[in-house]
Symmetry: C2
Subunit: 282 residues, 2 copies
């Protein structure tokens, strides 16, 4: 006995790592819904078709939109907001649910409210991705065991419940939260590590250390430096105050570390290492 699929006709807009992986995972489920894919690049649409990720990949966005009962917006954040603003005029079916997968949920919730679509909008953010980009980097198991944050206004609650069932069918673990809690958490748990990886990579580059010189630890610590700047830039345009504050805290902490190393007084450093060991292994 399987539950009926929560959606029958899914349009995936954007066929990069996230949209491509979503389409591939969805197509691989039992009793998969029909999946149409769209993105502006014809080669990427062709790649998604050839991989069997989507059943059709129309050239016109409208042909995916007007038909779907679920529209998945898997584009960079500002494009998600633009699409939400124009989607009602762009052939959206009357009862369709709209979901996005962007890394911040307050801007998309604001866009949905401004478009009068809060009752049909469900924000989702799977804690999964890749430092690579494009359909070629997508994979059907990307969401296995991934936490998927789900945000919806009370009037979209029933739709959010169906969206959660959909994510479970893809292997994800949906967790309901609020846009503001989500965005603070992401600023620290996701955006901060990204910026630290960039800063570390820039420092190593400036010191003439190649990434081939790194061991497993250094490679892990700079993997995110390969991430797509185009995808990240919009997430930093409206940075959370806690991200800014924590960057300043870390800047001070690195300065203290340098002072302690210079004076040969490493007690504070060892104490910090013990605390973080406890935090990381608890």
């Amino acid at each position: 006995m399987t539950e009926p699929a929560p959606f029958q006709r899914v349009a995936v807009v954007g066929l990069g790592v996230m949209g491509g992986s979503f389409a591939r995972a969805l197509t691989a489920t039992r009793e998969a819904p029909e999946v149409r894919g769209w993105c502006p690049n014809a080669d990427e649409r062709r790649a998604a078709l050839d991989a069997g990720a989507v059943m059709t990949a129309p050239e016109a966005l409208r042909e995916a939109l007007h038909w779907a009962d679920l529209v998945v917006l898997a584009t960079p954040l500002p494009v998600v907001c633009d699409l939400i603003s124009g989607i009602a005029d762009n052939g959206l079916a009357n009862e369709a649910t709209i979901m996005d997968v962007a890394g911040l949920k307050e801007p998309v919730a604001r866009a949905a409210a401004a478009a009068g679509l809060s009752n049909r909008f469900v924000g989702a953010h799977p804690m999964a991705g890749s430092e690579a980009s494009g359909f070629a980097a997508s994979r059907p198991d990307l969401f296995d065991d991934a936490i998927v944050w789900v945000v919806a206004e009370p009037e979209a609650d029933a739709r959010a419940t169906r969206v959660e069932a959909l994510w479970r069918s893809l292997g994800g673990n949906p967790v309901r939260t609020s846009a503001s809690e989500h965005d603070r958490l992401m600023s620290l748990a996701s955006h901060l590590p990204q910026l630290i990886a960039n800063s570390l990579a820039a420092a190593l580059n400036a010191a003439d250390i190649g990434h081939d010189d790194l061991g497993p630890g250094g490679r892990d610590m700079t993997r995110l430096a390969a991430s797509n700047p185009e995808m990240w830039a919009p997430l930093f345009e409206d940075a959370h105050p806690d991200l800014i504050g924590t960057l300043r805290t870390m800047a001070a902490s690195l300065g203290h570390m340098a002072d302690d190393l210079e004076s040969g007084d490493i007690d504070a450093l060892v104490s910090l290492m013990k605390q973080t060991q406890t935090w990381r292994t608890s």
Copy 2:
């Protein structure tokens, strides 16, 4: 046709991740030499015996030393230096080669010179390890494809060549270098990422973010925060000037990032992300 094993009787002193993995890898080679293991903890000696990593594990260090033609010092750095200082009086066989696997090569080279053992001493540093500690975290494939830095004075050149053959038999890729070049590289490629992981973990901890809240990127960026402070502390007691200088560079860079995010001017940040993407993917 296999080459004759470069050593016949190997004493491994220290049975943690590095020593334990070395013993396990060595015992698993074709025509493995006899391997004796020693460490101060009887439970760890028993674990190494039970796992078949060593053939004997005498209670007295001298019983491993006097017999060996290769002594592998796989203890924290200050213990390596102490062992080198006392090893000639502690029953070392006349022709034995001494090798260590510590993360800095200048202090051990100085200790070997002070003990009059430079002609028998080969420093090695495999770019492999684990954030976990103890024999339980050892594994026989730890050195597969790992770069192994090898440092020796000219009078120990023939021994260094045999040590390199030994590392190749364990799957490693030995690369000869100098102690000073090695230590600068490690300060930046290994010690810096370690400190950055600790600083990031401390900042997340202070912001009430649990490690369970992290996605794959954040988990990678804090994995090293679980590392053993006891192992690392000695490496920081005599910190390389380039490590101290680069920490200060990064502190300034994070401050600039915070300023740019606060003012909403992210051009410099995007430019830095593009540079590091090129560095990491080239």
